[in-house]
């Protein structure tokens, strides 16, 4: 089975990389980009039967820093 973990900065946490991307897009002439938030996608190839609780624990212990980041888990069997 596979799982995709999306790690994003919490609302209200300034995202300097997102801001830099936004400015670069504006520099390329793309108008109407109101905001950009950059995050991470982590793809996990897991043994069948890995529980959601296990994946949750992986996020809590390593994949996300919950002081500043949220995460979302999508599992694909």
């Amino acid at each position: 089975m596979k799982a995709r973990v999306f790690v994003t900065l919490k609302a209200g946490v300034l995202d300097p990389q997102g801001k830099a991307i936004q400015h670069a897009l504006e520099g390329l002439g793309f108008g109407g980009v109101n905001d950009v938030r950059a995050g991470k996608l982590i793809e996990l190839d897991l043994a069948d039967g890995t529980s959601n609780a296990d994946i949750e624990a992986m996020c809590q212990k390593l994949l996300a820093n919950t002081v500043i980041e949220n995460y979302r888990i999508d599992t694909v069997s």
Binding site: L14, P16, Q17, K19, K61, N65, V67
Partner: protein, 224 residues
Amino acid sequence: MKTAVIVFPGSNCDRDLAVAFEAVSGSKPVMVWHRETQLPEGIDLIGVPGGFSYGDYLRSGAMAARSPVMQAVADAAARGTYVLGICNGFQVLTETGLLPGALMRNAGTHFICRDVALTVGTSQSAFTSRYSAGEVVTFPIAHHDGNYFADTATLDRLEGEGRVAFRYAEAVNGSARDIAGILNDAGNVLGMMPHPERVIEKAHGRTDGRRLFEGLVESLMASA
């Protein structure tokens, strides 16, 4: 007194920190590789050095924080052993949970490498006892992820409890309340982005950092 410096793959200030520890304590620190599961007996002071542990993969300090030796460091800190984390070491200590908050990408997105003026936040710690509160000192910084973040309640608590050890005298990297270094609640763990170990000898051009190490040695000798 016995000191140790933790070495991760990608550490690059470990030798500078070892030189600083030896200069003030008179004995060579034990260099402890990140795979070790325990520290040598009787260590009084542990240094977590700057650098780019694990290439800053995932988040600065994230992988190092989960390496075997950091559990031993956390256990030692809980017993009252002094722990000093500088630059990447500060990032490792926040990722380990020994210090609150997180260090994010600098607000201007640039790596910043220059001398900065710092205001000493408190003299009431072993790390800052040889400074006066409000004194301005100049240490070098060299980091990409030094933008300190914590929620408002945590920031209020750090300030209220006198745990902000150093502040940037001017806005440098976007850090909340210009925080450059903080103490844990017991006062035996300090994490800071600026590099005191790079300003301890006349040949460095300045010696502002030396008193941090001297104060530590003095406290350790007094408690021994």
